[in-house]
């Protein structure tokens, strides 16, 4: 156990150094402090200015870069416009083609294969029946939302003659079976004394599945 009671924490003797006594008058101390403070504030101000300058400079750079890129893009627009003008004939041809194609598609929307239809009808004639005439109208253009199998595509009457009046009913039955027949029925029947034959009318409606659609625009009905 150490019984030495001399305090051990005392600072060692500082020989040869300026004694720690502040001889500066208080006013001088305050003045110096103010100077330091002022200088620090000036430094701070300049630093702020410099920082701002840097920031603003960077922003100007960014802004000018954007302007430059915009100018480049605008130049590209000009070039493209010039290039496009070089294709004026193609553009016009394409526009004309689509306009005329649309027109044709809609004008010939109710196009029907007449020979085929006629041979279907005459193929359904019972023996001894002759077609004396017909009056047929193609129907409306197909509608996008309507079923072509239920819309009238060809409407009219067919006039026939034969010696047997029962042929009218037989013919109606036969015509109902031809592809695309929508509504077939018997009309008036007359006996012609001069020829000793019967002349009768058959009303005939074919549906729109008989349309050829050969000029229909691609992608279906509009």
């Amino acid at each position: 156990m150490n019984l030495n009671i001399r305090p051990t924490k005392l600072p060692p003797a500082q020989a040869g150094k300026v004694p720690r006594v502040n001889l500066m008058p208080a006013s001088e101390v305050a003045r110096r402090e103010r100077r330091v403070l002022l200088r620090n504030w000036m430094l701070g101000l300049f630093a702020t200015l410099a920082g701002l300058g840097l920031g603003v400079g960077a922003m100007i750079g960014v802004r000018m870069g954007a302007e430059l890129r915009l100018a480049e893009e605008n130049q590209r627009t000009e070039q493209l416009t010039i290039a496009l003008a070089g294709y004026a004939d193609v553009t016009k041809s394409l526009a004309d083609r689509s306009a005329l194609g649309d027109f044709r598609g809609s004008a010939a929307a109710n196009d029907l294969p007449w020979t085929e239809l006629y041979s279907d009808i005459s193929g359904a004639l019972p023996g001894g029946v002759t077609v004396r005439g017909f009056d047929l109208h193609p129907g409306a253009a197909p509608m996008a939302d309507a079923d072509p199998a239920t819309a009238a595509g060809l409407t009219g009457t067919i006039t026939c003659r034969s010696t047997d009046p029962g042929d009218q009913r037989r013919m109606v039955t036969a015509l109902r079976k031809i592809p695309g027949a929508l509504a077939v029925d018997a009309g008036k029947l007359d006996y012609l004394e001069t020829d000793a034959t019967y002349e009768y009318v058959i009303t005939f409606v074919a549906d729109q599945t008989r349309y050829t659609g050969r000029f229909a625009p691609e992608g279906g009905v509009k």
Partner: protein
């Protein structure tokens, strides 16, 4: 210069903050937002440029096929000419009569009105009056016109009338058949008279 320290601090703070505020809000911020605007503008221009470029690419491809396109267009123009060109309709009728072995009796030209898509004329009364929509005034405005024409032929069988109609349909000029009326006479040998009412079309420039 005997400003108290607190005043120096105050002035310094005000100056720095003021400078920062002016610099940021009045110079840097407008520059930044301006840049954003310019950038947005550039993006939209670039987008439309890209669309344009794609279109030009497509056109370049089409130009390679220009002869085919021109040929197709010529075919279309023949079907739907720019002027009435009724001589072509007459030529078509003559050719169709010849090809179907029928005798062309009559070729008549009706009214020219603005085009209306086929609506299915059913009754005779409606057939007499051309489609309801076009008025005389609109004919001049619409570039699409339709002219009513009718052909009368005589032959010896009803089947040949159908053939004549088919030849009309598949000729060089586009024809929309409106009505085919066929009747056979009582004389021997039988004479079948067919009247075909049709529309021909004109696309004005």
């Amino acid at each position: 210069m005997n400003l108290p320290k607190r005043l120096i601090n105050l002035i310094g703070t005000v100056l720095v903050v003021g400078l920062l505020a002016v610099g940021i809000f009045m110079v840097a911020w407008p520059l930044y937002t301006g840049h954003l605007e310019v950038e947005a503008q550039r993006l939209s221009v670039a987008q439309s440029n890209d669309v344009q470029a794609a279109r030009i690419q497509e056109l370049a491809k089409q130009q390679a096929e220009l002869p085919a396109l021109t040929a197709e267009l010529d075919g279309l123009r023949q079907q739907i000419p720019v002027t009435a060109s009724l001589d072509q309709a007459s030529k078509l009728a003559v050719a169709a009569a010849k090809a179907s072995g029928t005798h062309l009796e009559n070729f008549a030209i009706g009214d020219t009105v603005a085009f209306t898509p086929p609506a299915g004329v059913v009754t005779d009364a409606a057939a007499a009056a051309p489609a309801p929509a076009p008025t005389d005034g609109s004919a001049a405005e619409s570039p699409r016109l339709q002219t009513s024409v009718s052909f009368t032929i005589t032959t010896d069988s009803t089947a040949q009338v159908a053939e004549f109609v088919d030849k009309l349909r598949t000729g060089s000029r586009l024809v929309q058949i409106v009505q085919v009326l066929v009747s056979a006479g009582d004389e021997v040998p039988v004479v079948v008279t067919g009247t075909v009412t049709a529309l021909i079309f004109v696309q004005q420039p």
